[in-house]
Subunit: 146 residues, 2 copies
């Protein structure tokens, strides 16, 4: 994990408890508990219930965010657990949610976000280009004086 | 797109304008404009600036969410554009953000969320299991009566 800024777990929870998926206050509690379960620091959370059913919400954490969208009619919830730094383990949040949503099946994809090798290479290239431009300018100026 | 519930663009913007990335009010405006650019309906938005630098924020839309995390010190922003339904095109939000953040380079991954074939197969299997259980119970009860 040294060469990336963040880890992003994309989770599909299938065959969950449908009443749980439609309870906006409960989902907000579960998502905040999930943030605490992985050691994250909660900054803000915002949740909304749609008509006739379904809940969407996000917990912004100091280390990125956790998001959920539920389809109670399908027993399905889509969850994003995006964390930065090595001290936070998004799997703790995943385990908590799998249990409280009563998911019978889940799929996980783990993606790395922010390639630090690429970022640093570009910063170095930009610094080099700026230095070259400065040098060219200096040579031109001296040429003009001579 | 008929067999999935959502489309999720994961975008890495490199070599952006650093001042833009550190301006929380500006980032919130750009993200709300990005939501409108792809035809989404904004439900709520929440943004936060970190010390000494960096902005995180999310726009919850009726069709899922848009999220951003910025690292001004690296000229880097990580963006999620997650939309549901065929009427919303997350590429409109991507194009808007690429321009206003001044990104010189970007990477995009498009993921499908919520496999409807799997969801429907599980619902049918559950309905079948419930019907079988009901039939077994009925046979047992009749057996007891006879």
């Amino acid at each position: 994990m040294n060469n990336v800024l963040g880890r992003h777990l994309l989770v599909e929870f299938y065959d969950c408890d449908t009443q749980t998926l439609d309870d906006v206050a409960g989902i907000e509690t579960h998502m905040n508990d999930a943030a605490r379960a992985c050691g994250a620091t909660i900054v803000q959370s915002t949740f909304h219930r749609f008509e006739p059913w379904g809940v969407s919400g996000v917990v912004v954490i100091s280390e990125s965010h956790l998001a959920i969208h539920t389809w109670p009619e399908y027993g399905y919830a889509s969850v994003d657990l995006y964390t930065c730094g090595d001290e936070i383990d998004p799997m703790g949040a995943y385990e908590h949610l799998r249990r409280v949503l009563g998911a019978q099946e889940s799929e996980i994809q783990m993606l790395k976000r922010g390639n630090l090798d690429l970022i640093k290479a570009r910063l170095e290239q930009n610094a080099l280009s700026a230095a070259e431009a400065e040098l060219s300018k200096s040579i031109l100026l001296k040429g003009g004086v001579l």
